[in-house]
Symmetry: C2
Subunit: 662 residues, 2 copies
């Protein structure tokens, strides 16, 4: 019987035919009819040659061949993206095929057969969605997407070095190939100061993971229609923008300007140094007419969708496909803007998120005159590299805020946790005597890219890349339980800047949009004084770096967690804290403890995704208590506090040194 | 002792270290100190491993290591171009080193040592120039540049297929990888109709060859200062433009618009589908400030050079570096515009040709903000792919014509060949009964790209590409020698369109700029009637396709020509005839026979280059008799004729079928 973990081998070396060695000298023994026409001609010879060195052979069962004509419409060498409806349609068909088979055995066969026929990126996407959503593949996790498709993460130039090293040097003696620290632009380009954020592996993986866990379309309803999907969409980007804007302050840049005028020149160019085309400085959007993608859309259309959504916000309701009026809430609004099949009326409200990306992604060749593919912002696994991504999302965020600011402010009663008060908060960095100073620096880490190096010699080959890191720290929180019984609390910790881009103290009205959620966890409170210590790396919202770039061939150790954390969609832990400034970025650290019974059950990373229909961890709005405007009279964060909250000043210091990981 | 032909092996697999297998299982046995630092660490192991399979070992003599610090200033992964003065300076140093060593043995050692240290493209250029110019490497020829650097000729996408084929399929069973017929743009883009011209291998090789044969800088004077270098520069581009414009008529496009307004948007975008950046439609030129390349130049400067050159033309003289006035002729003007060390005053008249290319090549990133390299037009081996190349050269051609139109028209006496008259001309295509109809079609040819596939498995791997071709034809020319002794004549044959882009009969004033020179050859004339038959493929101005893409490891066969035709700088023969139209392009074929004694000695391809200081073949101006305005009263070509000329109408028919080569 097939081993479910072997499915991961099909995600390696995406362009290599399925019969070639995978993993550690493993061969998929496929029926000859699985070979494509080119290889059937030389089939026996090949199977013998590649079989010879195999240490392990996986026997692939013959099956009734699936009908792949729809997913095969996308050429193998084309770029695939979820933003294009026609591509999603093909992906949906393949997901359906992978979801519908009854056993791992059959799944292995169908996948092995599809592997050489379908566009490799489309294949990876559909198989990943199936592995994450099928009952019988629970716990399998995924090969890191950086390892399958390093071309979506790494400077094109590096590949020649990787090939050179693994062609010439035998595995034991290979040295990691260094990816330059920042290679996409020079210091003349102010936007480039954010390279470590926009081009971070973890940040881009985080974004891509959302779309694996929340597919936009699938026939099996539970795959798409998930609890709080729309709100999570809103909050994910709200937090990304908050982080991005704070990082901009760390780099002497103002907050990002929303791209709300679709007729203006986009001044920020971006040259990804990858196989995707660049966008020059000062490029204008144009109507998109790409027949090949079945994409005929003018800018006016995008504008009309925006207008209709603003109108719906004013009216407090939307119209669904049956022309019923349904009340607008954050869930509905998120689903409309995203927009997935969960949107109540995709035809009317359109696809603001996806199409906005595409309009920017096609600015260089809107009519397909030059046979160009989309720029990086058109692919959800590379979109966050582009400065224009943040400008477009700042515009979408304005729409969400138009809704949020209409909600009544939380009352002190809603905010307070009766009988529980916070009496002190401190953060302390490891090995430091100065409290409330957080520290960041550079770190280099290595990642094995062998699984993504098609048609290259076997064996590990590491790339060495630089990313932001912070010194681990610990929160110490003093809580007084004024009652006489044990109680439970949900602690939320936020960090936000104390000053704006001009250096002036910031109003809470603006600051609330810059508050970064660092952690959220449940505590039990004994009567009287409680001292809660929580380490930064325990954050339920983040994913450790090892999980982002983990070794392949690791199955969960049965002595540890019984199932690997397959959800794997936390924010990259090494990006938990903004970079700060050499002489310190002044911030405010805010802690609130609220009633745990009310807030529900808490799960790892669950503020970011909710894969397997677990109960949602938090009954309150995501972003609580900063998701709404604050009550009258509250101008600054200090005025906002109820006794279950606390606020301290924190400095984030960046030291320009580079450590080696682990 | 080293074999001079082995030098060609150093032009293969440019990024692979020198100790790896080259050619057919050949290994250069280099002293260990030749290895770069990375490989010295694992040196013995490597040398042993790669040595094992060698069928032949070339022993490389140890030498006093040359000082390479200047050529090593260009990073190995950077792009190299002759247009950038700083790059030329590095190339000059390396050429000097390769020219200065005394023996082939030493040259082999110096080149083997430089191979892994110097930018591979710079290395190829400098070694090629040395091989073409040293006395002891006469007859070696060069590996086709397409084979060394296929990335400069082929769609990026094709490389994955090439790698796949040669990784999986053993050498005997490999199939050619098809390069799509036209892949850089769609039919929406009118300029794309010219793909077969602009992206032709032979056309681009022809252009690159000029700069190998006529280096812009070198310490050894004879390498740069060659007879009629400046005039050849003018005439090469004059003919390229004539051909390009006629091809435009074949595609219902008007003649190319000169780019004489440097402040306007360039409407023609170009996406090369290579590793060079694209230019979007409607991109503007900007001042160039690239400190890394030591290139700080504003558009005003380019404009001033143009103005000064126009002024010099008006005055009929230029100023040299010693502030002497020297008369302006086509030679001086060509050298000024090109401009090489042969320019009389580079500082004053600048570098119009190179810098024009660079301004266009840097339009997407003029200040190096985005760390981008130049576009294809910045590299003389890829420049002809870009539609803007022709617009810039149309502007340069206007300058040349400003000079040429000031010269007195040829008198009938100068044109005539007393006592010799042309009594009939006919062209006949093979196997056709209709005279004076030329035929073109598509052809596919295969080329082995293995020598350019770094870090890929060994053995031939062919790419199959499509190019224009014509059916061979024969000229029959009747000449009457009215004298009673044998005389000699030089025959020139031109082809030009009969109508302009509006379909109206064209004035000779315009037509002369569209006359394509097809052949030039000497004949002996017996008294009385002579019938001259000349086959199209005998043209002295073209190079057969086999020579453009010839097999490697071919040494000249001693039973044939004693020396291989190393000059190899003719126009690609398969592009001899413009494409024509399905229902025929109306043309005029013009033949002139002139006094051979007066015209000098004739050599193959010598209208295109003159490598080894042979006597120049033709004492008349290049382009004669169409290089000047015509005498008063001549409006059409038919009015221009003297008895030693003849004119017939010819139709060029294109059939949309594809033949296989050879």
């Amino acid at each position: 019987m097939a081993d479910k973990y072997d499915l991961l081998l099909l995600l390696e070396r995406p362009y290599e035919p399925v019969f070639m060695e995978r993993g550690r000298k493993t061969i998929f023994d496929v029926p000859e009819k699985f070979l494509t026409e080119r290889y059937r001609m030389v089939g026996n010879e090949l199977l013998e040659r590649f079989g010879q060195e195999a240490g392990r052979r996986i026997s692939v069962t013959d099956i009734t061949l699936p009908d792949l004509h729809i997913p095969m419409q996308l050429p193998r060498k084309a770029q695939f993206t979820l933003c294009i409806p026609a591509h999603r349609f093909m992906a949906r068909r393949l997901i359906d095929i992978f979801m519908a088979v009854n056993t791992i055995d059959e799944l292995q066969s169908v996948a092995a057969y599809a592997h050489d026929r379908v566009n490799p990126y489309l294949f990876n996407y559909a198989l990943s969605v199936a592995v994450l959503h099928r009952e019988d593949t629970k716990g399998v996790g995924l090969l890191s997407f950086v390892q399958s498709f390093p071309n979506k993460f790494i400077d094109r130039q590096v590949f020649r070095h990787l090939r050179e090293e693994c062609t010439i040097v035998p595995e034991g003696s290979r040295m990691p190939i260094v990816i330059p620290r920042d290679y996409t632009a020079s210091e003349l380009e102010p936007e480039h100061r954010l390279w470590y954020f926009r081009e971070d592996f973890g940040v881009n993986l985080y974004h891509w993971q959302r779309y694996l866990v929340y597919p936009l379309e699938a026939t099996e309803r539970r795959v798409v229609f998930k609890e709080r999907r729309g709100e999570l969409f809103y909050y994910m980007y709200e937090q990304i923008l908050a982080r991005y804007n704070v990082e901009r302050f760390c780099n002497k840049l103002p907050r990002v300007e929303p791209l709300n005028n679709l007729r203006e020149f986009i001044k920020e160019g971006y040259f990804p140094k990858m196989e995707w085309p660049p966008r020059f400085d000062n490029t204008k959007l144009s109507d998109v007419k790409r027949y090949q993608d079945q994409l005929i859309l003018d800018i006016g259309c995008l504008q009309r969708w925006m207008d209709l959504i603003y109108k719906a916000i004013s009216e407090g309701s939307v119209i669904d496909e049956s022309v019923n009026r349904i009340p607008l809430d954050i869930e509905v609004l998120g689903n409309i803007i995203e927009s997935s099949e969960a949107s109540p009326h995709r035809n009317l409200y359109g696809e603001l998120h996806n199409m906005g990306n595409l309009f920017i992604a096609y600015a260089h060749d809107p009519e397909h005159r030059h046979l160009e593919t989309f720029g990086v912002i058109g692919d959800l696994s590379t979109a966050m590299r582009d400065p224009a991504f943040y400008r477009w999302h700042a515009n979408l965020q304005n729409i969400f805020q138009a809704y949020k600011t209409r909600l009544p402010p939380y009352t002190t009663k809603e905010l307070h946790y009766e009988g529980v008060s916070l009496t002190g908060v401190e953060v302390a960095v490891e090995d430091s005597k100065t409290p409330n100073v957080l520290k960041t620096h550079w770190q280099v880490s290595d990642i094995d890219l062998s699984p993504g190096l098609d048609f290259a010699p076997r064996g590990n080959i590491f790339a060495r890349f630089t990313h932001l890191q912070h010194t681990p720290f610990t929160y110490t929180i003093n809580v007084n339980n004024e009652s006489e019984t044990q109680r439970f609390g949900l602690v939320r910790i936020f960090l936000g800047p104390k000053a704006d881009e001009r250096g002036q103290d910031i109003d809470l009205k603006e600051q609330r949009l810059l508050m970064i959620e660092l952690d959220k966890f449940a505590v039990s409170l004994q009567p009287g004084e409680n001292v809660i210590r929580r380490r930064s790396n325990e954050s339920s919202l983040t994913l450790p770096i090892e999980q982002t770039f983990r070794e392949r061939d690791t199955k969960p150790d049965s002595t540890q967690k019984s199932e690997y954390n397959v959800c794997a969609c936390g924010w990259p832990h090494h990006m938990l804290i903004p970079k700060g400034l050499p002489d310190g970025l002044r911030c405010e650290l805010f802690v609130i403890i609220s009633n745990y019974d009310k807030d529900g059950d808490c799960n790892d990373s669950a503020a970011h995704c909710n894969l397997r229909e677990q109960l949602f961890p938090d009954n309150r709005a995501l972003g609580f208590p900063f998701d709404r405007l604050t009550r009258l009279g509250v101008e600054h964060l200090r005025d906002f506090l109820t006794p279950n909250m606390s606020l301290i000043e924190v400095i984030v210091q960046h030291e320009d040194r580079t450590d080696h990981c682990c």
